[in-house]
């Protein structure tokens, strides 16, 4: 077997798969190591992809030429658009996904990818010579050479699962864990930490009384994640909504001494945004109920995922909790919920290219960087892959800015602020939110992907076609409609009648009129591509707000463009407070703007820095 590669990706989860795929696409001979090939792109927790902020990430991965969107579309069994009532920037696509299908489709796709070799095996040691990566040694002792390595170990590094007092040194869902690599990472002088996350019980569908729950079907007419997906995705599976109640909460509180989260068994830091039910009950004591969503694990199984009931309580408490909930009184558990602890890196070890600062050629992506979620992992995977490839090609790194993509926000947050809990993407983290929409992800990123070499001809052709569709519509926006022709639709929508004939542009700007309304009164517009029309509507309707945000971006740009010298000795800059010196020295920000976002660096410190740079003409 050939032992020489350009790049090695350790771990074939959502980050690893994306990194390996993009490296191979960029013509790098790539080895993808996975502890178990049954665990490739395995969705260990919730059976869905997308959601608020996360749907944006998937769209962006797709726009850059990644694969998560394509595979997600292929494995979708229900699709919904969240936040429809709350404005275009936060419309978030979320798909219920068939987990097995997702895993199988991704595995097959990777197996079928040119330049990519998948191998079942455990990484034991990353070989470094003179500060540069030269290869990886496996647990069996075999050595593979490569000048670039992407670490994407997810939650498998020294992991253990916990259910009550049952504690087991394994990975998620019974997969083996990676027990060899942590020692190596520690020996490399990297800052290793311990995080925690968890998953709820799964229940047999036939034991659930759906009649007393609220049914949630998919929406019709949603776009897909990938611009390459033809036609509609599968959309025939339902989810169900029920609630915890005071009895459920009583059971939890009475058994708190048995909860590993509270009795000291769990040491790792858990996510605030995806708390266990015991944490929710304790933290929000004034709430008398919490939502529980019952979601299918796939189309080929009767297992249902009990979203909202993540727990590490003992098995008997889990049963009692579950049985206290309406519709789940007779639920048969197929898998118990558990908490999982794992080793991860302090993301301050990285710079914004996802390179580990201490070594050349070493990158990391996904949950090892302190994030949580499949989408967050995939987003880092594609960037780490791109930059590992650029390193091999001697090209400068690709830094994706905050005002360009959620991926930029995600990475900048991680490497600048660090994180003390598993980091989840949220739309509120993006200060340029109105620009970072799902409907313009391709317009923001595909041209960049083309330059990077990750967008192939097929995707680029689709992109150009879409741009042409938008242009066609923009060209006829001055077409006017008489008062008479818009009267009916205005009355229907409760919109005030225009005083004279109204152009399509003005029509779409009105708060209560939509693109669909325009199609009703105009065959010409009705004949245009509907998604392109929707895009034009959003751009027009929110023009004023987009302009306001554009101004804010421009204002911030100056600080964003002011790069900081790599070798700046922060420890010796007079006037900087000690804490600021240490933080700046640790993070080594690339720009003044990044420096200003570091927690512990005060505005006055930035002033000192500005004055210092100017004085020394840097």
């Amino acid at each position: 077997m050939d032992k020489r590669y350009d790049a090695i990706v350790i771990g074939a989860g959502h980050a690893g798969a994306e990194a390996a795929y993009i490296l191979a696409k960029l013509n790098k001979k790539t080895l993808l190591l996975s502890l178990s090939l049954e665990a490739v792109a395995f969705m260990a927790c919730n059976p869905n992809i997308g959601g608020t902020g996360k749907g944006h990430l998937v769209k962006e991965i797709d726009a850059l030429g990644g694969i998560m969107g394509e595979i997600a579309d292929l494995a979708t069994i229900q699709t919904r658009m969240l936040n429809l009532g709350n404005g275009p920037a936060v419309h978030s696509l979320r798909a219920q996904v068939d987990k097995n299908l997702y895993h199988r489709a991704m595995k097959a796709r990777l197996e079928d990818t040119k330049n990519l070799t998948i191998l079942e095996g455990e990484a034991k040691e990353i070989l470094i010579e003179e500060g540069k990566v030269v290869g990886v040694v496996t647990g069996m002792g075999d050595t593979y050479s490569a000048r670039a390595v992407v670490i994407a170990t997810g939650v498998y590094l020294n992991s253990r699962i916990i259910t009550g007092d049952y504690v087991k040194d394994v990975g998620p869902a019974g997969f083996m864990r990676s027990s060899l690599l942590t020692d190596n990472l520690l020996a490399l002088g990297l800052d290793i930490r311990r995080f925690k996350t968890g998953t709820p019980p799964r229940v047999l569908s036939s034991s659930i009384d759906y009649d007393v729950m609220e049914t949630q079907n998919g929406d019709i007419g949603n776009p897909t994640f990938s611009m390459l997906t033809e036609g509609d995705v599968r959309n025939d599976k339902a989810c169900y909504l029920t609630y915890t109640n005071e009895e459920t909460h009583r059971i939890i509180i009475e058994n708190l001494d048995k909860a590993p989260m509270y009795n000291g068994v769990i040491q790792g830091t858990g996510p605030r945004y995806c708390p266990s039910i015991e944490t929710k009950v304790m933290r929000f004591q004034d709430k008398d109920r919490h939502q529980i969503f019952v979601e299918p694990e796939g189309a080929d199984t009767y297992e249902m995922y009990i979203q909202g009931l993540s727990t590490s309580m003992p098995y008997d408490v889990q049963e009692r909790m579950l049985h206290s909930i309406k519709g789940l009184e007779h639920a048969k558990i197929t898998r118990y919920g558990y908490a999982i602890e794992y080793d991860c890196l302090n993301p301050l070890e990285l710079n914004a290219s996802l390179a580990i600062k201490k070594y050349e050629g070493l990158y990391s992506a996904g949950q090892i960087n302190g994030s949580s979620g499949y989408e967050e992992a995939g987003a880092q995977g594609i960037i780490a892959g791109i930059n590992a490839s650029r390193y091999l090609d001697n090209l400068p790194p690709f830094i994706i800015r905050r005002d360009l993509a959620y991926i930029g926000v995600l990475i900048d947050d991680l490497v600048t602020k660090g994180t003390n809990e598993p980091y989840r993407m949220m739309t509120s983290r993006a200060e340029h939110r109105l620009f970072l929409r799902q409907d313009n992800a391709d317009l923001r990123l595909t041209e960049i992907g083309r330059e990077l070499g990750t967008v192939d001809d097929e995707r680029y052709a689709r992109f150009l076609e879409r741009k042409a569709q938008i242009k066609e519509i923009e060209d006829i926006l001055d077409k006017r409609f008489s008062i008479e022709s818009v009267k009916e639709v205005c009355e229907l929508r409760g919109e005030t009648l225009p005083k004279s004939a109204i152009s399509a542009r003005e029509f779409l700007k009105r708060n209560y009129l939509t693109a669909e309304d325009l199609c009703k009164i105009s065959e010409e517009f009705d004949a245009k591509d509907k998604r392109a029309l929707k895009y034009v509507e959003v751009e027009l309707k929110y023009e004023g707000y987009l302009k306001k945000q554009a101004q804010a971006i421009k204002d911030a740009q100056r600080m964003e463009e002011k790069t900081l010298p790599k070798d700046l000795d922060y420890m010796s800059i007079d006037g900087l407070r000690i804490e600021a010196r240490q933080k700046l020295d640790e993070v080594k920000p690339l720009t003044l703007a990044q420096a200003s976002r570091i927690s512990g660096v005060m505005p006055a410190d930035i002033t000192v820095l500005i004055l210092y740079l100017r004085k020394n003409k840097l």
Binding site: L82, A89, M426
Partner: protein, 442 residues
């Protein structure tokens, strides 16, 4: 800051009684040891904040002086600070500075002491600006206000508004990020928070809009027909004879501008020639100027002679004044025969009722409110608060017409405007601008 800066903290322009030399930086104490000695002082056990009487001695310079040591970080700049107070001869003070520079101190740049205080976290940007206001302040009320700015009262008022805006923003964001989990309608608490912020900011803004009353003084015009006693009233207000007073109508031919200080407030007085249509050229010019004076006044006292009957001219003149902020004042109470509808009756010649009239003027101008308002004395402050108010109003007005993510753009820009004001958001231009305006020694 490693280098130690030195400057005179008192103006060098005039020979004051006491001159103060200020030194700040790591070596301030070392330098002081070399030049100052006192019998009551052993440098190894020097007590901070204590004034020692002793002798400054270095090179040619030898003089009795006081010395105070402020230990870092409990000093103005947050660094070690030494103050030397000597007899204020210009040449002596300059000599002391020269000696300290010889020993290694560096002459301070304009505003450098305050800049260091800001950089060392001793004050925020708004407070730093307060120092500057203080230096430039005229009149007692203005000084008091500058102190309030320096004390951070502006920051506190802004902080309260910011907290409300933050509440609104958190509500909006949580709805956006948890569309499924968060099903409560947060519209009302959000609107309430925005309204509260708006009210606070408008109070701050309005209190500040007329801040020039405090900083530059109030322009007061006294208007009335000829010979109703305008100049007497002016004199009464000023306690001095400034205008020529005779019984002949039309004696005051020109608008006389004078200023005086009433209860700490600077008053720019404009005594207008009696306004009436006149053929006399000199007087005609005066009449036109008087009309202009009324135009430019912050408040007009409309003076009427209650000893003579109301004339059509008087009614005509009042029409012109009634659109301005004004008080109707009835003069010559002692010989009143034709009472008018008036806010107050006085006797300008004897000064009777003048105090009450001043009370009324202060009330009318809201002086107390303005003087105790959080002062937004600089254009930068006014602009920031105005931007924030406009953004909040846009958010409120469009709340139900646009989606939440748009509302949040306005709410965030309101927050940003205020953050910039207190210096939480750094803009290098602003910082440089502010500190370049300082005088040396502060």
């Amino acid at each position: 800051m490693k280098d130690t800066i030195v400057a005179s903290a008192t103006p060098l322009a005039r020979a004051g009684a006491v001159g103060i030399v200020k030194m700040s930086g790591e070596n301030a104490l070392e330098l002081a040891k070399k030049v100052f000695s006192a019998t009551s002082l052993t440098w190894e056990s020097v007590e901070p904040n204590k004034m020692y009487l002793g002798e400054f001695s270095s090179g040619e310079i030898k003089d009795k002086a006081f010395c105070v040591y402020y230990k870092a970080p409990k000093s103005y700049t947050g660094e070690d600070v030494i103050e030397i107070q000597a007899h204020g001869g210009i040449s002596l003070i300059k000599g002391i500075i020269r000696e300290l520079v010889k020993l290694g101190a560096r002459p301070a740049e304009p505003g450098e002491f305050t800049k260091r205080a800001y950089l060392n976290g001793k004050m925020n940007l708004a407070e730093a600006e307060g120092v500057q206001e203080l230096i430039n302040a005229e009149g007692e009320l203005a000084v008091k206000q500058a102190y309030r700015l320096m004390d951070g009262e502006l920051s506190r008022g802004i902080e309260l508004a910011k907290a409300e805006i933050l509440t609104a923003d958190v509500n909006l964001e949580s709805v956006l990020d948890y569309p499924e989990e968060l099903t409560d309608d947060l519209s009302e608490p959000t609107i309430n928070a925005l309204n509260n912020a708006r009210t606070r900011l408008i109070d701050i803004y309005n209190g500040s809009k007329n801040q020039h009353f405090i900083t530059e003084g109030v322009t007061l015009a006294i208007a009335g027909l000829p010979n109703v006693g305008k100049s007497s009233l002016m004199n009464a207000l000023m306690h001095e004879e400034r205008a020529i007073v005779t019984d002949i109508a039309g004696t005051t031919r020109d608008v006389l501008r004078e200023s005086c200080t009433l209860r700490g407030l600077k008053i720019n007085l404009t005594d207008t020639a009696g306004i009436r249509e006149s053929d006399d050229t000199v007087e005609k010019i005066g009449v036109e100027r008087a009309k202009k004076a009324i135009e430019g006044a912050d408040i007009v006292l409309f003076l009427m002679d209650s000893a003579t009957p109301e004339t059509p001219e008087e009614i005509e003149l009042y029409k012109e004044i009634s659109t301005k902020k004004h008080l109707r004042v009835e003069n010559k109470e002692d010989i009143k025969s034709f009472p008018r509808v008036a806010d107050i009756s006085i006797e300008a010649k004897t000064g009777k009722g003048i105090e009450e009239l001043i009370d009324m003027m202060f009330d009318k101008l809201d002086i107390e409110k303005i003087a105790t308002a959080v002062p937004l004395t600089s254009e930068r402050h006014l602009h920031a608060v105005k931007t924030a108010i406009e953004a909040i109003e846009s958010a409120i007005d469009n709340f139900y017409a646009v989606p939440i993510d748009c509302t949040s753009v306005d709410v965030k820009s309101a927050y940003r405007a205020l953050a910039e004001l207190t210096g939480e958001d750094v803009d290098e231009n602003i910082v440089n601008e502010i500190f370049s305006r300082f005088c040396v020694g502060k």
